[in-house]
Symmetry: D4
Amino acid sequence: MNEDEIKQVLNAVNARKMSIETAFKRLQHLSYENLSFARVDHHRHIRQGVPEVIFAQGKKVDDVIAIAHSIYKRSRKLLITKATKEIIDRLNMHDAVFYPLSGTIAVHGAKKKKGNVLILSAGTSDIPIAEEAAVTASFLGSRVESIYDVGVAGLHRLAGAKKSLDSARVIVVVAGMEGALPSVVGGLVDKPVIAVPTSIGYGTSLKGLTALFAMLNSCVPGIAVMNIDNGFGAGCLAHKINIV
Amino acid sequence: MNEDEIKQVLNAVNARKMSIETAFKRLQHLSYENLSFARVDHHRHIRQGVPEVIFAQGKKVDDVIAIAHSIYKRSRKLLITKATKEIIDRLNMHDAVFYPLSGTIAVHGAKKKKGNVLILSAGTSDIPIAEEAAVTASFLGSRVESIYDVGVAGLHRLAGAKKSLDSARVIVVVAGMEGALPSVVGGLVDKPVIAVPTSIGYGTSLKGLTALFAMLNSCVPGIAVMNIDNGFGAGCLAHKINIV
Amino acid sequence: MNEDEIKQVLNAVNARKMSIETAFKRLQHLSYENLSFARVDHHRHIRQGVPEVIFAQGKKVDDVIAIAHSIYKRSRKLLITKATKEIIDRLNMHDAVFYPLSGTIAVHGAKKKKGNVLILSAGTSDIPIAEEAAVTASFLGSRVESIYDVGVAGLHRLAGAKKSLDSARVIVVVAGMEGALPSVVGGLVDKPVIAVPTSIGYGTSLKGLTALFAMLNSCVPGIAVMNIDNGFGAGCLAHKINIV
Amino acid sequence: MNEDEIKQVLNAVNARKMSIETAFKRLQHLSYENLSFARVDHHRHIRQGVPEVIFAQGKKVDDVIAIAHSIYKRSRKLLITKATKEIIDRLNMHDAVFYPLSGTIAVHGAKKKKGNVLILSAGTSDIPIAEEAAVTASFLGSRVESIYDVGVAGLHRLAGAKKSLDSARVIVVVAGMEGALPSVVGGLVDKPVIAVPTSIGYGTSLKGLTALFAMLNSCVPGIAVMNIDNGFGAGCLAHKINIV
Amino acid sequence: MNEDEIKQVLNAVNARKMSIETAFKRLQHLSYENLSFARVDHHRHIRQGVPEVIFAQGKKVDDVIAIAHSIYKRSRKLLITKATKEIIDRLNMHDAVFYPLSGTIAVHGAKKKKGNVLILSAGTSDIPIAEEAAVTASFLGSRVESIYDVGVAGLHRLAGAKKSLDSARVIVVVAGMEGALPSVVGGLVDKPVIAVPTSIGYGTSLKGLTALFAMLNSCVPGIAVMNIDNGFGAGCLAHKINIV
Amino acid sequence: MNEDEIKQVLNAVNARKMSIETAFKRLQHLSYENLSFARVDHHRHIRQGVPEVIFAQGKKVDDVIAIAHSIYKRSRKLLITKATKEIIDRLNMHDAVFYPLSGTIAVHGAKKKKGNVLILSAGTSDIPIAEEAAVTASFLGSRVESIYDVGVAGLHRLAGAKKSLDSARVIVVVAGMEGALPSVVGGLVDKPVIAVPTSIGYGTSLKGLTALFAMLNSCVPGIAVMNIDNGFGAGCLAHKINIV
Amino acid sequence: MNEDEIKQVLNAVNARKMSIETAFKRLQHLSYENLSFARVDHHRHIRQGVPEVIFAQGKKVDDVIAIAHSIYKRSRKLLITKATKEIIDRLNMHDAVFYPLSGTIAVHGAKKKKGNVLILSAGTSDIPIAEEAAVTASFLGSRVESIYDVGVAGLHRLAGAKKSLDSARVIVVVAGMEGALPSVVGGLVDKPVIAVPTSIGYGTSLKGLTALFAMLNSCVPGIAVMNIDNGFGAGCLAHKINIV
Amino acid sequence: MNEDEIKQVLNAVNARKMSIETAFKRLQHLSYENLSFARVDHHRHIRQGVPEVIFAQGKKVDDVIAIAHSIYKRSRKLLITKATKEIIDRLNMHDAVFYPLSGTIAVHGAKKKKGNVLILSAGTSDIPIAEEAAVTASFLGSRVESIYDVGVAGLHRLAGAKKSLDSARVIVVVAGMEGALPSVVGGLVDKPVIAVPTSIGYGTSLKGLTALFAMLNSCVPGIAVMNIDNGFGAGCLAHKINIV
C-alpha cells in the first residue's frame, strides 16, 4: 500500500464515499501490512531486479520453470542462477540468454549500463563464478568488464590490465585455492575490492574455506568478502557500490 | 497505534475535522513506529521479568552496578548472571540474594511460584550451571526442585528421584563430558526435557561441543538443547513451558 | 509385569497354589525386568505413538515395509519419516497418507487434535522439514497450523501471521542459511519457540551447522534448538509442550 | 625511477652523451624497480591516510610509541587501533584523541568530512568494534553517524533510525552472537551493507565464527563481510564506498 | 641374529677360522637386518591370523580376488572386511562364509574358540559394525556372543543380558548418534569395555565424530575407544584382551 | 534386593505372616531401587579402588581436602589426580605419596601387585601423563614398569626395552605431537596396546587432537585409544586388562 | 619487451629516428609490461617443463585434449595429472605414456636424468600418489627410484632399502592414515624428506587431514609437507632440491 | 659403536686378549644397540648440531639450564629455541649469543658457512619466526641472508631484493594472516621455497591455520610447508637443501 492508496482511502472517507468500517478494514493491518508494504516498496526500489532472481540449484526443473514464468509475467525481467541446459531448453522464452559456464539465464536485464565494474578471476576453473558475478551486475544495470585467468602465477596478465584497473569504480576478484589474488589486487588500487572465494582446489582447500579465510585475513584493509562460490552476491554488491 | 486511534483519525477525516495531509502524516510512518511500539508492548507482556537481566561476564563492575540500579529503579526487580562476589558487595541492595556457585544475583523475583520445574545435574562440576537455571526459573515464577550429581555412573541416585520425575511438568538436565544424561532421563519420562551442555571436561570434550552434539543427537526424540553453559536460557525456556 | 500380575503371584503364594520356587522365578529378574516393564510402560504412555515411528532414510525398502507392517499390526498406527515414493507404493496400506515434500507417511494418527502448534519456515527449501514437524505433531495429537516462506527478507508475511502467533501455544521455526528467523520470531512472542536448523545453503552454511550455531546463540533467551533437519524431533517436542 | 629520470636517460642517449649499453643497464632492471616506484606511487595516492595506521595489539608499548612518532613526523597524521591507556599517556602528542571503548587513537584526521556512513551495532558489547569503524571512517574523511544497541530484540530502535537509514550512502552493521542484524538491516535498505562479526558470545558463538558464517549466508544478497572484530577494515571499506 | 650366532662368529674369530673382515661383514649390517628379521619374527608370532586380512573397500574387485588367493595359498585362512556380494560370488572358495550385513568374508578361522567376548550394539543401524567385530574376534579364536539393538531407549534389553555381561571377559559396545551406550554399560561392569563409534546419524552426528568424542569423554574411567566404524579393530583388540 | 530377601518376602506371604499389600509394597519399587542397589553393588565390586579418586583440576583446594578426608575415612585409601603442591601440603595425611611431575597423590594403594603393565612415553614432556597412568595402575594393584623418552627419534631406546616389551601383559604408550609411537610399538608386539595422546605440541598439534586422530588411524589393528592427557583412564584400563 | 626491443628503442633514440616522447611512451609502461616479460622469462627458465602440466581432474575431456595439443605444439612436451583412460585414448599422441595407477600422462619428458630421488609409499593404497610424484620428478629430469608398501607395520622392508636411502639426494614419503612413516624415515637419514599425506583412511583420518597434521608435527625437525594427495607438487619440489 | 670399535673387539678376540664372554657382552645388544648406534651415528653425521637443540618453551628454567650444560659439555655447541631473557642470564656461558626477538640462544655454531639461504618475512610481527629460522640455518653451517617486512602490500621491497633472490640456493618465506607471500615469491624463482605460516592475525586467521592452508594450496607447485611458527624446522630443512 503506497502513499497514493492511503490518500485515496482518506479522500474517500473525507468525501463520505467510504464508511469508517470499510476504511478501517483497509487500514487496520497497517501496523503489520504497513511494514510489509514499506519493505516491499523499499525492496522494489532497492533491488531493481534482484527479486526477479531464482537460485535453481537443488530445485526441480518443473518448479524453476513455473516460478520463472510467474516472475516474468509480473516484472518482464528474470535472472536464474545455477541453471542447467535443460532449464533453458524448457524455459521457452524468446529473449532468454543462457551463459553456459556459470549456468546463468538472463531475460531483459537493464538496458542502460552505468559506471564501471571490473571482474577478475584467478584461474580458469574460477571463471563460472566470475561469469555469474558479471552477468548479475550487468543485469542490474552496471557496465561490466571481465578479465579471466589472472592468477598469482600469471601476474603479468594483471599488469596488462592496468587501464581497466584504473577506470573501474569497483573490482570483483574471484579466486580459489590459496585465495591470494584479492590481496595482490587490493594492494594496487584505492577502490572497493570484493573478494569471492571459490570451492576450487582439493585437500586443505577445504572446499573454499581456505580461500575464504585468506581473504578475510588480507593484509590489505577493507576487502569485502562473500560466501564461497557466491558470484551472484558479488554482482549485487558491486552494482550497489557502482551506483552509490 | 491501536484500533481506537486509527478509527479516531478516520472519524476526524470523515467529520472533516482533520485534513487529508494531517491524517496521512499520522498514518504514514506506521510501517516503522507501529512496529516498534507493538513490539515493545509485546515484549513487556511476554518476557515478564526477563528484560531485567544483566549478563555480567566480561562487563566492568562499575557498568554492571550502574545498569543494575537503573533497571531496579524502573522495574523493582533484577537478575544478574555470571556475577562475582565484588559485584554483590558493591551492589548495596538490601534484598539482593547472591548464589555463589553460579554467581547469580536475584532481587525481588516472582513471589508466587507456579507449576513444577525439575533441574538435574550430572556431575558436581555442572552444579553452577544447574543453579543458574534454577534461580532463573524461580525468579520468573516457577516452582523449582533441584537434584544434583546424577551422573550416568550414579544412575541409582536418579532412581531415588522417581517421585520428582513424576511430578515435574518440565525437566532441565545439565551435563558436561559425554552429555549422556539427557538421553537416559528422556528415555524415562514423557514430558519436555531441556538439555544444557556444560564446558566441563578436557581434551575432546572440546569445551562443551561434544556434550552439545551428543545431546542434539539423542536417540530420544524431541529433546530441547541450549547453548553451552547457558543455564539462564534453560531457566527461561523451562519457565515458559511450565506456564503454557 | 504390572501391579496386577505381581499381586496375582503373591495371591497364588498366599493361597499356596504356587511354590516359592515358581514364584521366585517369576519375580527373580524383577531387578532388571521390572525396570524394563516400567520403562516400556512409561514409554507406551509417554510417547503416544512415537514408538510407532520408522526413520526410513538409509534403510532398505524391504526392511521398512516389514517393520512397518509389524508395527501397524501391534499398534494400529504408524509414522514413517524420510520415506520415498517407492515405499508408499509398496506399503499397500489402505489409510496411509503420503506427504511428498517431506517424504512422511502417516497411518491412523491421533484423531482428536488438542492445543495449538504453529510451524513457520523461512524459505521454500525449508518446507520439507517444516512439513515433517507438522505431520509429526499432528499425528501425535496436536492441532497444527503451518505458515511457510517467512524469511527475514519476507518479514511482511510474518506480519500477516499475527493472529496465528497470538493463538499458538508453542511455535516451531524452521530455517537454513543464516538461521535468523527464530531470533526475530522469539523477539515477538512470549511462548516457547523451537528452532530447527536445516541443511539448506552452500559454502559456509556448512550443511546447517551455521544455522544451528546461530540459533544456539540467539539473543532471545530460551529458544529450544534441534539437530539439523530434525523436523520429527521438533514435532515431538512441540506436541509434548503443547499438552503440558 | 620516475618519468623525469627515464626522460633524462633518453635525452642523454639522444644527445649521444650516454652509450646504448649504459642506458640499457640503467633501464634493464625496470621490471623490478619500476614496479616498486609505481606501486609506492599508487599506494600513496590510494590509501589517503591508511598507511599511517598502527595495529597496537601484541606490540610493545615502546615500539608503538616509536613507530607512532616516526609516522607522525612524516605524514602529520596518525591512527592507532587496539591501543591502551598507557599508550595514549606515553604518546605525548598534543592533538591526539583517545577513544577508550575501542582503544583507538586519532591524530589530525581528515578535516573535511564527505558523504554519509552509518554505523549500527547490535549489543552494548559490540560498541568497541563499532566505535573503531566509526573513528576509522571519520579519520579517513567520511561523515559518520553511529547508532548503538540495535539488536534483533530491540528492532524498534532500528525503526527510530529510519531517517538515518535513508540518508546513509553505506551502512556498517556490527553484531556478535547469532549475527542476524545485517540480514534484517539489509532487508530494509538498497545501499551497500558491510557486516562486521564480533567475538562477543560464548560456547557455540565460537569466538565470532558463528556470527561470521551467519553473515556470509545472509538471505539478503550482496552483504560485504569483514573478519571477526575488524572494525578498522569496515571503516576503510565504508570510506572507500562512500567516496566512490 | 641370536646369541648363538653371534657367539659362533666370535668363536670362529677366536679360533682364527674366520678373518676379521668376514666377521665384521657378518656383524656390520646388524643395525638394519637384525631389526627387520626380529620384527618379522615378532609379527608372525603376534598376529596369528591378522595379517591374512584384506580391507576391500575402495579396492577393485579383481585386486581383492587376486590378493585373497595369494594370502589363502600361503596361510590357508583368510578374512576380508567391507566386501561385497560380487566379491564373494567371484572368490570361488569352497569354505568361504559371507556375512552380508557387514560384508565380511571368513575362510577357515580359528577352530578352537577361547574365552568370552560380548558384542553389544545400540541401534539396528549399528549391527553391520558389530557383526564385523564379532566375525573378526571369532575368526581370531575368541568365543563371541552378540546382543544387538540395546539402545539407551531400550535399556531393558540390556537388563535381560545380565548373565552375558557377567560371563564376558571383555565387552565391545557399538553405537552411533550420541554414543551413550558404552558409558551406561561401563557403569555396570568391572571388565574392559571397548567402544566403537559408528557413522550412523545425521547433522551434528558429524559422521561419527560426535559419538567418538562422547566415548572418549565417558565419565566411566578407562574405556578403550576405536576409530569410527572400525569393527575390525575392535574385534582384534577384544581378542587380544580375551587371551591375555 | 537380593535373592534371599525376595524369597524371605515370598516365604512370609506363603506362611501368611505378611499381607499381600505389605509384600507388594516391598516389591513394587523394584524397578527403580533394585536397579540402584544392583548397580551400587556392582560398582563396589568392579571398581576396586577407582571410586576413591578425585580429579583435582578446576576444584578449589578446600573442596579437594574435604572430599579427600571423607573418602579416606570410608575406604582407607585415596587417589587424587592433577593435584598441586598446595594440596599435598594441606592434606596432612601421614602416608600420602606425592608424585610431583603428574601431580598425583596416592594413599594406601593396593599392596599386592599383580601381572605386568609397561608404560612407555615418547618425549620428556609426555612424562607427566605417563606417570599418572603408572601411579593409577599401581594404586589399583598392577605391577608397573615405566620407560620414558622413547620417541620415534629415539627408537634405539625402545630397542633396549625388548625384555620389558616381552614380559608385559599390556602396554600403555603415551605420545604427543604426531603420535606415531603407538603404531611403532604396536607393530612389535602381540599384546594389547593402549595409546594416550597428550596435548604436547603447538600449531597443528591442535592441543592433542592430531596425536589422537593419528592413534585412532593406526595401521596396526586394535589399538585402544584414550582421551587427550587421560593418563588416569589408561591406568584404569591397563589394570582391568592386566587382571582379566 | 625483451632486451632486443629495449635496445632497438635506445638505438632509434640515439640515431634520432625516434623522438624522446615516442620512446618514453614505449618504455613508460615497463613497470607493468616489464614485469610480465621478466616473469614469463623466469618462468620458462625455472620451471623446465612444469608449465606444460594440465591438472585434468574436474575438467571436461574435450578441454583437456584441446589444451594438451596446444601445449604440445608450443613446447614439444606435456604432462597431464589425474587423467583418465578416456583421455589417453582420445589424446592420440604417438609417444604419450599413460601411468594407469595415478592417471598420469607424460609425453617427451626430460631425457637426461640427474641426481637421485627416492619415493617411498606406506600402503598399497598410497601408490597412485607416489607414482604421480615419481612420474613428475622423472619428467622434469630427475633420476627416480620407487619403493612401495613400506608401512610402519612393514618396517623391515624399509631396512632392506638401506642402500637406496643412502644414495638418494632427497626422499619423498607418501602415507595416509596416521602418516607416521615420514617421521620414521626422517629419523634414519640426514637428507631432505618431503612428506605427502594421502586421503587414504576413514573416520578420523578426515580425508587426509590427520596424516597432514601428523606430518607437520613430526618430532624429526625440518620435514617438508605437501597438500593432501599432492604427488605432483612433491615431484616438483623433489626435482628442485635434487638439482640445487 | 662404530666400525673401528667393532673391529677392535674382533681383533682383541682374534689376539685372544679378550674372552668370548667379554666380547659377547660388548656385542650382545648389537641387534638392538646396533640399531641405536647406527642411528645415533647417522644422526650425529646427519644432524650436524641438530641434536644439540633444546626447545625451551614450556620447560622449567632450571631444567633448561641443566640440559644445556649437559649438552654443551658433550658437544661443545648448543642451540636453544623459544628461550627467555632469564635463561640467557642464568645460563652463564661465555660465548652464548642471545637473539631477543625470537628468543634463540646459540653457542659455537658452525664456523664455516656454506651456500646461500635467503629468509624473507611478510610483516614485522613475523620477524621472530624468521629470525629463528635464520639463526638455526646459520648455526648448522649455512650462509644466511634475511630480508624482513616484505608483505604483499610491500612487494616493491621484494623487487629490491632481486639480487638476493637470484643468488639464493633455497628461500624461506615466513608469513601470517592470509599467507600469500610464498605464492608470490614462488612465482618469481625456480629454486626450492620453504613456507612457514605464523600465528600472527586474529579471528579467522585461526592462530595460523589459515596461513598454513593457504600455503599448502599455493598455485605455485612444490612449495615445502612447515608447521605453524616452526622457524626452527624451516632452518633445518633450508640447511639440508642448501648442502645437498
